[in-house]
């Protein structure tokens, strides 16, 4: 399967701050990829680098076979929904549809009307007067009307209540079954960043985890789940485990030790009770590491292989 997004050593430095460091990921076609990580982890930066709105200071991204760039042909292939859902507040959804029709080669304005009509969102009111959830739906419908092959969504759920979130994700899941250029066959690739792991767990089948501006994890959700285990046992030395598995996080109380480990080899020591973690436990484990930067160093190259060998 071909990779829609492929980056190597992608980095972005602002004057003093490193927003993204040495990020190497691969996202195969047709995936719905969850981009997760704490605030300031570099999620927005990564998305902006992939759209071409920002330029990397080092490394390289290949998106849909080319470098993200200021080029109508490239821009026509990607749909981007920026953080805080920026739309022209004084213009109506209908006027946004008009703008899109004038600026895009294969624009499907009818789909916006159908989608928003179905959700009973007025097309003729300034979008500034709509609720946050309605605005998000308008923005998503506009982004989909471009009929992109790659959809990049930056925290689209942040301002939404649980019901609006569910509607939004339903729209997204439905869109994912139709290929961007109109052909059937689940060819639309989606990457969305979010804090809400529980929400996106249901729709996403691929995971990219960033922390402290470094990549921690990139791969299919199934594989990520299969590769991690939680060990619970008496308080004891963990060096034996560390020889065969990567210890992502270690929680120690006076009586017991809880480990989140990564690696496919068996854990032989019967003192450990082995549990299957869910996605949220894995993500939280990585996000609460003592030193994600140190961990990401040797790990990043190895982890990227997980995504790369799909």
């Amino acid at each position: 399967m071909t990779a829609v997004i492929e980056t190597s050593g992608l980095s972005k430095r602002y004057r003093r701050v490193t927003a993204l460091s040495d990020c190497t990921i691969s996202v195969p076609e047709g995936r719905i990829s969850a981009l997760v990580g704490p605030n300031g982890a570099g999620k927005t930066t990564l998305l902006r680098l992939l759209t071409g709105l920002a330029a990397p200071t080092a490394g390289r991204a290949v998106v849909l076979g080319g470098t993200p760039r200021q080029d109508p042909a490239y821009l026509a292939e990607i749909g981007f929904l920026a953080q805080d859902i920026p739309l022209y507040r004084r213009l109506t959804a209908q006027e946004h549809v008009g703008i899109g029709a004038h600026l895009n080669p294969r624009w499907d304005g009818e789909s916006v009307r159908a989608r928003l009509g179905g959700l009973k969102i007025p097309l003729d009111r300034p979008v500034g007067t709509l609720s946050g959830g309605q605005r998000a739906q308008v923005a998503l419908a506009l982004t989909l009307a471009k009929r992109p092959r790659l959809l990049l969504l930056d925290e689209p759920l942040a301002a939404l209540d649980p019901l609006a979130r569910r509607n939004f994700l339903a729209t997204l899941a439905e869109a994912a079954t139709v290929r961007g250029d109109g052909e059937a066959g689940g060819g639309l690739t989606i990457m969305l960043s979010s804090h809400l792991i529980a929400d996106i767990e249901r729709v996403c089948d691929h995971l990219i985890l960033l922390a402290a501006s470094r990549l921690q994890l990139c791969g299919d959700v199934e594989k990520v789940l299969a590769e991690h285990r939680i060990l619970v046992g008496p308080r004891k030395d963990t060096t034996a485990i560390a020889r065969t598995h990567a210890i992502i996080r270690e929680d120690t109380t006076p009586r017991q030790t809880t480990l989140l480990i990564r690696g496919s080899g068996p854990v032989i020591d019967p003192a450990w009770a082995v549990e299957e973690p869910n996605l949220e436990e894995i993500v939280l484990g990585y996000m609460s590491q003592d030193d994600p930067v140190r961990r990401a160093g040797p790990e990043a190259a190895r982890l990227s292989a997980v995504g790369g060998d799909q």
Binding site: L53, Q70, P72, F80, P86, Y88, E95, H102, L103
Partner: protein
């Protein structure tokens, strides 16, 4: 893109048209009245050169006319400065620049229309003011004076293009609307004052005429731009300040004529002193209009160059 620009600016465009219409009505009424007074004056008092107290209308209109010197600034201030800054500030630029058009195209079309709008607005107001000023200029011969030259004929369009480019550029650099507007205002006023005060009198080599200090002479004909005037001695230098710091026509009275301080003119003339006036003749009015407009258009082009360069290089 043209359609998009129109959609986003149509309310502002309507507001500008309404304000222009209001101004036009006021100026038409007062201008027609002034023209009528002027026509009857031509038939009457001008023949006897006795129009000294002729009034062409209320001074409120003159104030309004002088106030139109702010018009070229307004499109740049209220449309130019927010054009990029507001989109960058609210993030809508990310919507605009991820449609299937390049930034360059987007910026070129938008600023192109804004520049045109600014030039048209300033040009239309200037046309009105130029028409209104006809009798006034003829009566007072002040077409070349700073607060008349600046608001008539083609220079206002040049100023408006400059203000628009300044606003757009400030918005691109500062990325926030209010600071961009402040910079546009300050930059426009500073550049206008600088060029009008220091540069304009020297666009062309001025003409100097000398007068006898004793004679009561008339100045150059028509509306000229005075550059400098004073008194010079036989060696071409102005007189050194004498004792007691007496002055005559704003110039020191040389020591040799201190005794004739009540009427130093004959003494100073006898010692080779004469009055001079350095000026730009009225015939250069259009050349000066062209040069000044050119300067502001070139400045605008430089600012737009910076804007394009900045937006190409910097992240959105």
């Amino acid at each position: 893109m043209t359609w998009v620009t129109w959609r986003q600016y149509r309310y502002q465009g309507a507001l500008a048209a309404a304000l222009f219409a209001a101004l036009a009505v006021v100026l038409l009424i007062s201008g027609l009245h002034a023209a009528q007074v002027w026509q009857s004056a031509l038939a009457g008092c001008m023949k006897g050169n006795a129009c000294g107290n002729l009034s062409l209308g209320s001074s409120a209109f003159t104030t309004l006319i002088v106030a139109t010197s702010a018009v070229p600034l307004l499109p740049g201030l209220f449309w130019g400065a927010p054009a990029l800054a507001h989109e960058l500030e609210t993030g809508t630029i990310q919507f605009a620049w991820t449609q299937s058009v390049t930034r360059r195209h987007w910026l070129a079309v938008r600023t192109g229309w804004l520049l045109l709008a600014a030039a048209v607005i300033a040009g239309a107001v200037s046309a009105l003011v130029t028409w209104w000023s006809g009798p006034d200029n003829a009566l007072l011969a002040d077409a070349f004076q700073a607060n008349r030259f600046d608001i008539t004929d083609i220079v206002p369009a040049g100023y408006a293009i400059f203000a628009m480019a300044l606003g757009v550029c400030a918005g691109a650099l500062l990325r926030r609307t209010l600071p961009a507007m402040a910079v546009t205002l300050a930059g426009f006023v500073a550049m206008r004052a600088l060029i009008a005060q220091w540069l304009r009198p020297h666009y062309m080599t001025p003409v100097t005429v000398y007068y006898k200090l004793t004679a009561n002479v008339a100045g150059p004909t028509g509306s000229y731009l005075s550059v400098n005037q004073g008194v010079v001695g036989p060696n071409g230098a102005p007189p050194a300040a004498g004792l007691g710091n007496y002055t005559f026509n704003g110039s020191p009275v040389p020591a040799v004529c201190q005794k004739a301080i009540q009427n130093p003119a004959p003494c100073m003339t006898a010692h080779g002193y004469r009055a001079y006036l350095t000026y730009q003749p009225a015939s250069r009015f259009w050349a000066f209009q062209g040069i000044e407009t050119g300067i502001f258009v070139v400045l605008a082009a430089a600012l737009l160059g910076v804007t394009f360069w900045v937006l190409r290089r910097r992240d959105a």
